[in-house]
Amino acid sequence: MIDEGLKSELQKQGVFVVSTEWLYNWGRKSSIWPLQFGLACCAIEMIAAAAARYDLARFGAEVFRATPRQADLMIVAGTVTKKMAPQVVRLFNQMPEPKYVIAMGACAISGGPFKDGYNVLKGVDRYIPVDVHIPGCPPRPEALLHAIITLQEKITGQHIDQTRWYDATATTEFPIPVCGEHDLLPAANPEVWQPPKDYRDVTNEESTKKS
């Protein structure tokens, strides 16, 4: 990579040295087109974020494309039920590759308040990889804007050799669950859904040591 000293030196003489990777990421970062995909109450906060007062347009992200083919960010805004899960995964598969997912609201992350229901999927990351999680029920429109800024930081930090879409071995077709007799089959996609082996039980002693 270009060392910073040389870069700042050149910048003084007005020469901007930019790596293609930075250029790619800048292009993707500053024009994220979300898929028009609202499920429940969080969708209304998403529309409020695109409305006059919070104005998603300033980030160049107000072009809500209705077809998955032209969208590159899927904001899962609302409760993903088991009846809707196959559609969500199929939509994600249909999106062209440099694609990101924001799980907006408690329901999308973990089933939220409706977690105990028989028809509610406990979190959309059982089937598709999620980049940014926004807790809240519903999260304020500013929280969505903060999440988009966090996603932009994540995009600028991406390196070509580590991303999923340039890696030939990575799976592009996530298996679509089937609505079975009692539940979705399979209950989760093991490749994407890896809960941690242990639960870091931070008791008081550890907390005092850490803080």
């Binding site: 999620v130 809960p195 870091r200 005092t208």
Partner: protein
Amino acid sequence: MNYPGKGLVEGLAVTARNFVGSYFYKDRLTTVQYPEERIQTPENSRTFPFLVFDESPDKPRCTACKICEVECPPKCIYIVMDRDDKGKPLQRPKAFDIDISVCMQCQICVEVCPFESIKMDNDYEKSKYGRFNDLVQRLPDLLKSNDYYRQIKPVKAAEVDAKLKAEAEAKAAKKAAAVAAAAAKAAATPPAGSAT
């Protein structure tokens, strides 16, 4: 005068007024540019709960009575009572987890808490990359000082402090009365004792 395209032209006039107005009038351009300018959220605004402590983080007001854990509709609070080595419960939580990926921000825990120890924060910038251990707020993340609470919700904090002070005085007065009564009883019994 009602010419055929009247409705269409009036519509254009409205959008033109908004377009031109957005350069001059404040109410025609209501955008608050989020990261630089921020909306002053009202005092009652609530996002996620946090625990209040008075002097030091080791002595939170919470006594691990688990009322909020029972009353929480989505059941996103998990409390473990702190016990000393002999197993006697110390009135303090050993672990107090709130899974903010399940919390529905309904502040019922604040209403039912008898010790005024759990309050609602108004910080909404909590989007994270990881899901599992990032979105579970444990005791160290939850504990915030009373003056932080006084800073974000001045009026409510003042009420709560006044109530707590009143209770403290009432208890102190009762204890004093109890001590006085005990002293009076002690004073009354020795004369009886000596009299016999």
